[in-house]
């Protein structure tokens, strides 16, 4: 039974949505009991139940997802195994090696190594995430100033041992996929919300 919740008056009263469930009186004597049994026997409720399940069988409206062959779509903000993205124009890695993700990681599962390369740019040499420890909280993606580490949709991460790792080569978008335009921008944690420019306020001078 559908009813609108009256939000203005939530006190229990005659106008409120509360009502007593209609329970028929218990039979008091043998004759009443007999009448109840007879009524229940001949009311045909059992056949209603039979019809309901048979109807579902005939309709054949199967809700099963045959999982390894079919997969349900997951939300864009789903936080599964991480990905490292590349810059669209140059194809260069977005990661600047600032180490914020390593710092903020509350389960301490991110490890990175950096060096200064020939162009005096900081280069990430090693980047690995221990998925046995990662709790997929999304802090790394949120803290990343460059939208370099994001969460991807890869949720199947069964492995032979409890602590398994993703390393930089697993996470980084391959160059050929980037050129094919296959790298998807991540709309989840840390991403720029569409229309967020409009909500930026100027810093008050009074500060």
């Amino acid at each position: 039974m559908h009813h609108e919740e009256p939000f203005k008056d939530r006190n229990v009263s005659e106008q409120s949505a509360y009502y007593f469930v209609d329970i028929e009186a218990y039979p008091e004597n043998g004759w009443d009991k007999f009448k109840q049994v007879a009524r229940r026997t001949f009311s045909g409720e059992l056949f209603v139940g039979l019809w309901v399940v048979l109807r579902e069988m005939i309709k054949f409206d199967i809700h099963t997802v045959q999982y390894p062959k079919e997969k349900l779509p997951i939300g864009p903000r789903y936080r599964a195994v991480h990905k490292l993205l590349r810059l669209w124009e140059s194809g260069y890695e977005r990661c600047i090696g600032c180490g914020l993700c390593e710092k903020i990681c509350i389960s301490d599962c991110i490890r990175m190594d950096t060096r200064i390369d020939e162009n005096s740019r900081k280069e990430v040499t090693e980047y690995s995430i221990n998925l046995g420890r990662c709790i997929f909280c999304g802090y790394c993606a949120e803290v990343c100033p460059e939208l370099a580490i994001v969460h991807g949709p890869r949720f199947e991460n069964a492995s032979e041992q409890r602590a398994h790792f993703v390393i930089k080569d697993d996470m980084l978008t391959p160059l050929d996929l980037l050129k094919a335009g296959e790298q998807a921008e991540y709309p989840g944690f840390g991403a720029v919300i569409p229309g967020s420019d409009a909500s930026v306020k100027k810093t008050p001078l009074a500060y």
Binding site: L50, V53, L54, E56, M57, F60, D61, I62, T64
Partner: protein
Amino acid sequence: MDAAFIIETIVKIVVIMLIFSALAGFGTYFERKVLAFMQRRLGPMHVGPYGLLQIMADGIKLFTKEDIVPQNVVKPIFKIAPVITAATAFMAAAAIPFWPQFTVMGYTVHPIVADINVGILYVLGVMAIGLYGPLLGGMASANKWSLISAARSAAIFISYEVITGLSLLAPLMMVGSLSLIDINNYQAGGITNWIVWSQPVAFILFWIAAFAETGRTPFHLVANDHEIIDGFGTEYSGMRWGLFFIGEYANMFFISFVMAIIFLGGFGDGTIAGAVQLILKVAFFFFFFLWTRAAWPDVRPDQLMWLCWKVLMPIAVLNVIVTGIVMMF
């Protein structure tokens, strides 16, 4: 008793054993599929096309599993109990005509192992002995759930067996024979001659008792998963448990045959069309066993006994009396 008769009987026994062992396996497949479809699922799908080979997988699993005999059980009884269930289920099939007689290369085959003149009495009696499977298995298991299940099976057994016998009395009075072939031939005239039209009350009563007899869902009290785990089967594993299972499903098929033959005209006049009709009737009864499992809740043991003793038994007695009075005048 010549050698040909003995050979023919042995062949019949082997054929029936093989067919109904296989059917018991297919019964589990059908049950899982039908239940799944009624619950908007697909059921077994991965082993073989549409999961058809699931039976093989289950069979291999059951046969190769370790046969665990727990420490405190009464070992000989614990070991023999599943055999009783399966053996009595198949022994009951001896007096059931599965198919009208047919002629192969000038040799007339009667597809019934033994057309004894007390056929239905024998079938019900041997099926009733099947009670000792759950009863002994449950009592020997050294497990409280099994013990409760054994007690339930005995209490329920006494209740439904009264209904089975009394409800069958009225049709048997009309037919005047206990042989299932005679009962079938009594209704050979076609659909209007079916006993269900003259004995609808007996038909309903026997049907209800059949649910208790096979332990199917409205009366699935002996091994009710959510109350007493698997009841008498809790401590069993591997092929011993599998024997219980085969016995249960074979029983479902045999009781479906009995119902179809006694009340719904059996194979009629013995033509191929009548034989196919018999299969369809049995299929309907078997489907109904699965259907109710998807639709109906279980009753409590005391409710079942209330139903049997206070409601069904008086009705059955009245039915017998009314039938007798009608036959007298």
